[in-house]
């Protein structure tokens, strides 16, 4: 019905209008391309082409001092990089950092969301305050955390010393054994409010009646969670886990400003490693190779993620 209406309207317009119908239809066919083109061209220009350049760079011998001279040297950069224990340790650090971040933010976020998914006074205010770390700029977070974990004057040592938990040397970010843990704590502190608030939003979609019915049937909390809550929030959980993976692979400012990957490479993730190789050591080819390996790893994670979730959804 509406299709007919639309055609007849168009027909009527044609009578008085200067444009013949076929041209107008051609215009309408072109319209989605015209709408999408600016953004697509933009992303091609500022992400696609630079990325391809980066790939070319990874097969070449180029320094930051002379970035336009490109000397192709095949796989040498990759061979150098894979033979470098610093790079292998960066891969290890990245894996530990990403896994700990994803589990930390997801579990803490889920726990917080479940606790907040009840009616109590001030819940709105609690939710607003909780999100502040996520809304705060990373550089400001690095600044305040460097101050809080300062070995001499930091309030972390004052507070933990009061209950006997402060390390004897007072070192956090300068200790090879504690730096990664401290960075992880700060990252999870900054990101768990986000997962909590998003999971909380998903929890509101769980029907109350189902919970009440399950309670009347005498289901325990765990049974109710598995049968009623989990199926509703699972899609949100899995996509959040992917988001946390991507975010933690990308995370730069916090680590760079607090430890620059040190001490002794203990917080040196791939992103930090490639930035230092490019901008401090000025080895653009090596940096590009590290970057490409990092991108391949994140792509692999994403593909595995989609395969696994698709399979899980099909079997469910």
């Amino acid at each position: 019905m509406s299709v007919l209406d639309a055609t007849s309207t168009r027909g009527r317009q044609r009578v008085g209008g200067p444009k013949p119908a076929p041209r107008r239809r051609a215009g309408e066919r072109l319209l989605p391309y015209l709408l999408a083109a600016p953004a697509v061209c933009y992303l091609v220009a500022f992400q696609g082409i630079p990325f391809l350049q980066q790939v070319v760079l990874s097969f070449s011998d180029t320094s930051l001092l002379n970035p336009t001279s490109i000397d192709l040297i095949g796989l040498d950069n990759y061979r150098d990089v894979f033979a470098d224990p610093g790079f292998l340790s960066a891969v290890r650090v990245t894996i530990v950092y990403v896994i700990a971040c994803v589990f930390g933010t997801m579990l803490l976020g889920l726990g917080t969301a479940l606790l907040m998914n009840r009616n109590f006074k001030g819940r709105g205010i609690a939710r607003s305050l909780l999100i502040i770390p996520w809304a705060a700029p990373a550089v400001a977070v690095a600044l305040i955390m460097a101050w809080i974990f300062n070995p001499q004057y930091g309030v972390a040592n004052d507070a933990l010393g009061g209950v006997g938990l402060a390390p004897t040397d007072g070192q956090w970010l300068d200790s090879t054994s504690r730096a990664l843990g401290t960075i992880l704590f700060i990252t999870i502190w900054q990101l768990f409010p986000f997962t909590a608030v998003i999971i909380l939003a998903a929890l509101q979609a769980v029907p109350d009646e189902l919970h009440e019915a399950a309670m009347l049937d005498g289901a325990t909390w765990t049974q109710r969670f598995r049968a009623v809550t989990w199926p509703v929030i699972r899609p949100t959980i899995s996509i959040l886990a992917l988001l946390m993976t991507i975010w933690s692979i990308r995370r730069f400012e916090l680590i760079w400003l607090m430890t620059q990957g040190g001490p002794a490479g203990s917080t040196n993730t791939l992103v930090i490693d490639l930035y230092r190789r490019g901008f401090v050591e000025r080895e653009l080819g090596h940096a590009a190779a590290v970057g490409f390996v990092g991108v391949v790893i994140s792509l692999a994670i994403t593909v595995i993620f989609f395969v696994v979730t698709n399979r899980a959804e099909k079997s469910a």
Partner: protein, 279 residues
Amino acid sequence: MRHGLKYRMGLTGAVTVVLALVGLAVFPFYWMLITATRTDDELFGDRPPLLPDPSGLGTFADVFSDTTIVHWLTNSALIAAGTTALTMALAVPIAYAMSRFDFRGKVLVGIGLLVTQMLPEAVLVVPLLSVFKTLHLLDSRSGLVLGNTAFVLPVVTWILKNAIDTVPRDLDNAAKIDGCSPVSTLWRVIVPIVAPTMAAGSVIAFFHGWNEYIFAVSFLTDPGLQPMSVGLAGFIGEISTPVQTVMSVGMIYTLPAVALYLLMQRYIVSGMAAGSVKG
């Protein structure tokens, strides 16, 4: 009333844990305020102060004369505003096309929008450096706007597309019958309905421009163009500037971002939640 003692005890326990977590989330910012308003003697003593000192609030006024914060704030605001405007101008049309039209390569564009969200900025710093060098955009705020937009455009497009998906197509058809072209349908029908999500998208783009550090520190050499992120980062590990000044600058940098977020949180959460549900 309806609930028994066990439920209420459980609720009290839950609220206590939530309060502790909220305290943990807020404490570092509270500590920033305390540090900004207290004297060295108080801060470096054995018993750290637990309350800010209202008489120390003058530090916040002093930083405007003691540091180049006015320049930093102006640069950050210009970069963030430019990033927002350019992102929205590009995102609205493509989100509309992705939601309402079938066209060749649509699936590819969708995949591209997901993949580009995964590229770390650090990977593209070097190639963008040479692109901007060729375009004479190093050492300019416009260059940073261009770089930032590339990294926030995909996520904003995705959020807007999801919002437009929820607008009933009957409205489009009605507009068409009234003689609206697809473009004026976008402006007159869809944009007003998804305005809250557009506002949320703008805030996300603004945040990105306001918070961005790696491009700014890598592409700018002129100190007069530095934004807050670079200015503030310069204080980390440096000891000649009083810690009160440093923390005041940090708070002034954090407040607009947090305030903007709190103002728009409902729409940001629903936009991000819808985006993350549908992926």
